[in-house]
Symmetry: C2
Subunit: 243 residues, 2 copies
């Protein structure tokens, strides 16, 4: 159980460092179980009030909002290590849905114990707030992407982000990583039409920058991708200060 929770972000000095013994001991108190779900399962529903919070241990998913028009806005992609349900924990209800795209294994927490966490483990509470701040940062970045970049740029940017994210949690193998989504999902995340996403993907392929097919992303030329994405080419790990 301890090892299963290695990727729980509810700790982490640098974000995905192994947990210390006390951290593990603590998590075992807060954790109430493990859950395995099939791809396609809806983990949390918009406007619902889930009694459980999760940490993704394996598999991938996505967070999205459903608009009045019936369209869908993908907020972001869920990778192992992500915390799911902070909103449900701290507000009355979720403001977006969370769906498992592939089969997933999850670490389950009891929402009701969240307050005890704040009372008895201020350091963990601090971590949680840190996570929320990171999330806020990422959303701000997404906003800038949607607000100012062209279709090609958005996709390049998304690929770099996803790849670096994947690398951080050990999902990559060389220049490759699993990316088990549909083109429609990416389109909904980037505010583009599937048709256009498809055409831009083709272009990235032709320019030998990146290929995304059969659920796998291959980054042929990271530098070129970064150039297109208007991104510095060096990765910046998301570390947390020691208070």
């Amino acid at each position: 159980m301890a090892t299963d929770c290695q990727n729980c972000p509810l700790r982490t000095r640098p974000i995905f460092e192994p947990m210390t013994a006390t951290e593990v001991a603590f998590m075992q108190g807060f954790k109430t179980g493990e859950l395995e779900v099939e791809g396609g399962t809806t983990l949390m529903m918009e406007a619902s009030n889930s009694p459980q919070l999760y940490t993704a241990l394996s598999g991938m998913g996505l967070r999205y909002k459903t608009l009045l028009s019936g369209e869908r806005q993908v907020i972001n992609f869920v990778v192992p290590g992500d915390f799911i349900g902070l909103q449900a924990g701290v507000m009355q209800e979720m403001q977006h849905s969370v769906e498992a795209t592939t089969d997933m294994k999850l670490c389950v927490f009891d929402r009701k114990r969240l307050w005890a966490l704040f009372r008895d483990h201020p350091d963990r509470a601090y971590d949680l707030t840190w996570l929320a701040a990171v999330e806020e940062h990422l959303l701000g970045e997404s906003l800038a992407i949607l607000g100012h970049m062209s279709g090609l740029e958005r996709i390049a940017r998304a690929f770099v982000r996803l790849f670096d994210r994947g690398a951080a949690v050990g999902l990559t193998r060389g220049a490759e990583m699993p990316l088990p989504y549909r083109q429609q999902d990416l389109a909904d995340a980037l505010g583009l039409s599937v048709v256009h996403v498809n055409k831009m993907l083709k272009r990235l392929r032709q320019e030998r920058a990146a290929t995304w097919q059969n659920g796998r992303l291959i980054v042929h030329d990271r530098d070129k991708l970064c150039r297109i994405a208007q991104l510095e080419t060096d990765r910046q790990p998301m570390t947390r200060p020691l208070i």
Copy 2:
């Protein structure tokens, strides 16, 4: 358990309710002073590590990111009651800048005391996390706006949100409220060009939905505005559960 977090100071029950006596007493411990700045002042700089955190008491401002291309993405608008600098507090550095648009009065906190806050006042820490979750929610909503709505719709939506926000903090007078920004600011927030914003504003004016001129927003017909914005017409205050 409900009693454990009865008095929640860092802000309020409905989001901008007056503070209770104990709340005030506490704030005076954490608070280190007050600050008045002129319009145009940069309060926090992207990538800086501000030693201070603020709560806006009066005046308005905006948060924005500067992109590599030199363009600007306005993340959101700052109104009285907003907390500024959570990222600086909890991460190493700010990921966006904050600028005072008008003269502002601010409540100043010492960043270094943040950890003490978590240790000694778990209920306050909880509030802070709640604020972060709300912010995350709002950003998710903005994302959906940029991803899926037309220019006219985006502006209508922005007006409704700003107006309701203003109403919550007592900025409105009848159907009017101060909105001391430039068209360029709104354009940068919504991912549109100034030219297009201007044309859509004209249309909203002609359709007698809303007028924004000389720094004042007038909502002529809230229902019509909501219809354009694809929004339920009733307001939903952002309240926090009592744990």
